[in-house]
């Protein structure tokens, strides 16, 4: 990665961090645009995107090891670094989204395991433990597989958390955990290639030759799940999502069709298709969260009392955008920093 690009990414990350601190300590919820009837927005979308990306990156690392004889090599380490950075920033997003960000830690001390979110949270901790085991012990292979299993656990827990919500017609389906798994693999494998090409192109060229095919298969698999969703999806929420420009345009066209076409015809080791897939899957997760709140809980409820936080409309605020772009840049910066450290250590 060029120095100037690194500088821009770091500047974005710092701006995002500053805005995040402003939200936590000064502005509070006034800086966000979600409310009572659309209680989740961009940050929750990015949280589930990054959690899925972390899992997918871990599985990509396992695939890289498997395709090279079963022993984890440099690409597996890079994949797990990306997984760790994604999960850390994903958790930062959900922490920021809380009404009481400083109390979020209580989910570990006072969990209610009737909530799949509590299960997922504990599995995040175990996942970080697996990463520590992988990087700081000699039992790399064991911890690599354990990380993959734990990642599957938290993706399923997240999928079931959303899928079991009786109040949300769009999410309340067995397809939800399935789509969480397929979208995780697609986003995670695309993230490994995107950050890998940016950070250490030579490693990707040496060890990642088979990865573009994995990405393509994962994207096609997820598109298949979404096609079933489109057919089976009934109700105002599903219709709103399936006909939105975010879903059809950004996800469908730029996140699936264009990158698949580029990968089929062009250079499979170029950055563009993988970056497009990532952007497309961010849009997909946003559409999934946003359009879950299309229908008024009771007809006429919004008109019953007028307030900016009692509406069905939601457009992310400036602070939400600044934090989002900055923290996403943070995933790249942290991963690149750690990959460079790893590469430098190996050179010594």
């Amino acid at each position: 990665m060029s120095k100037s690009l690194k500088g821009i990414i770091l500047a974005l990350f710092i701006a995002g961090l500053a805005a995040a601190l402003g939200k936590v300590f000064f502005w509070g919820e006034a800086a966000t645009n979600y409310g009572a009837y659309v209680p989740w927005g961009l940050w929750v979308a990015l949280y589930i995107f990054l959690v899925g990306t972390a899992a997918g990156a871990a599985w990509t690392g396992i695939y890289a090891a498997y395709s090279q004889g079963g022993e984890p090599k440099k690409l597996t380490s890079i994949s797990l670094i990306i997984a760790g950075a994604s999960l850390a920033i994903g958790l930062a997003f959900v922490g920021l989204d809380l009404g009481k960000p400083l109390k979020g830690i209580s989910i570990f001390f006072n969990p209610s395991f009737s909530s799949k979110l509590a299960w997922a949270s504990w599995l995040y901790l175990v996942f970080f433990g697996c990463l520590a085991g992988y990087f700081f012990t000699n039992a790399k292979k064991g911890f690599m597989y354990a990380a993959g299993v734990v990642a599957a656990g938290f993706v399923v827990a997240e999928g079931l958390f959303f899928g079991s919500m009786v109040a949300r017609q769009l999410w309340n389906s067995l397809l939800t955990p399935v789509s969480f798994l397929t979208s995780s693999l697609a986003a995670g494998s695309a993230a490994v290639l995107t950050i890998g090409i940016l950070s250490t192109e030579e490693t990707i060229a040496e060890e990642g030759v088979k990865l573009p095919k994995l990405v393509m298969l994962a994207v096609i698999l997820h598109a298949g799940v979404e096609a079933v969703h489109a057919v089976a999806g009934a109700g105002i929420e599903a219709r709103a999502m399936l006909s939105s420009w975010i879903y059809l345009g950004v996800f469908g066209l730029f996140g699936v069709i264009v990158p698949l076409a580029l990968l089929k015809k062009g250079n499979r080791m170029s950055l563009a298709p993988f970056a497009l897939i990532l952007a497309g899957f961010v849009a997909y997760k946003y559409a999934f969260v946003r359009y879950g709140f299309t229908a008024e809980p009771l007809p006429g409820l919004v008109a019953a009392l007028q307030d900016a936080k009692l509406t069905m409309s939601y457009i992310p605020s400036t602070v939400e955008w600044v934090v989002s772009i900055g923290m996403l840049a943070g995933v790249i910066w942290i991963a690149d920093f750690a990959i460079n450290k790893l590469t430098a250590k190996e050179r010594v």
Partner: protein, 235 residues
């Protein structure tokens, strides 16, 4: 016409119900929409009782117009929290801040709530709103003390005097005025209703006005298909 104001009848029913242990009571409401004039006194009374901030409402009144012109019918639907028998908001809470109490009230412990809003996402009725820490008099020379004054919910005194306190940043909802009820007072919405459309009491007592009214009328509950079994019935 009733022999006495039904508030007195419900008051006696309440005193009787409070003699029973909490697990033997089943608090419920019957709202007779034929008597609701759409005056919003319940909404305003509730806001005053709990010093509710901007964006937080426990009992809005939905204005419904049905039929086709010129045969239109206007009706009103007050919407408290339904204190569901099978509340979908409870199992999704990752920290156990919201739970079903022995007497059927779905409570929120503000000191435990982390503000994740999963309960809000999974309430089919939109009964929960989010306290973002705002004040009506914010931006004026001084936030008025009355907005920071204490209020009683779930048997505790809470204060909303800091953006980083327990209440701001929490999900909030109607709790059938559990603190008032515990002290033998009817919920504020029942007492302020000019049409006496809101009946409150122990549904497990067949002699209570609320149970008798329910038995004598064809009542319905909202969104039965969600499987949440609301404890608020409409006539």
């Amino acid at each position: 016409m009733e022999k006495e104001d039904i508030l007195l009848t419900m008051q006696r029913d309440l005193a009787k119900a409070l003699q029973k242990p909490p697990e033997k009571r089943k608090w419920g409401m019957v709202i007779d929409t034929r008597k609701c004039a759409g005056c919003h006194a319940c909404t305003v009374g509730c806001i005053a009782e709990y010093k509710l901030p901007p964006g937080v409402v426990y009992r809005p009144v939905v204005d419904k117009i049905s039929g086709t012109f010129p045969d239109l019918k206007r009706s009103f639907l007050p919407r408290p929290c339904f204190q569901c028998e099978n509340p979908s908001c409870v199992p999704v809470c990752p920290v156990g801040a919201t739970k079903k109490e022995a007497d059927g009230i779905v409570s929120i412990d503000y000191s435990k709530c982390i503000g994740c809003r999963a309960c809000m996402a999974n309430c089919p009725y939109g009964a929960r709103t989010f306290d973002t820490g705002r004040y009506y008099t914010e931006g004026t020379p001084a936030v008025q003390e009355l907005e920071k004054a204490g209020f009683y919910e779930y048997g505790k005194l809470w204060r909303r005097d800091s953006k980083h306190g327990d209440v701001a940043g929490s999900a909030r909802k109607c709790n059938f005025c559990s603190s008032r009820v515990g002290k033998g007072l009817l919920p504020i919405c029942a007492t302020t209703c000019i049409g006496r459309a809101t009946l409150f009491g122990d549904l497990s007592d067949p002699n209570a006005l609320v149970a008798k009214t329910l038995a004598a009328n064809k009542a319905y509950r909202l969104k039965e298909e969600a499987g949440t079994k609301p404890q608020v019935y409409y006539i």
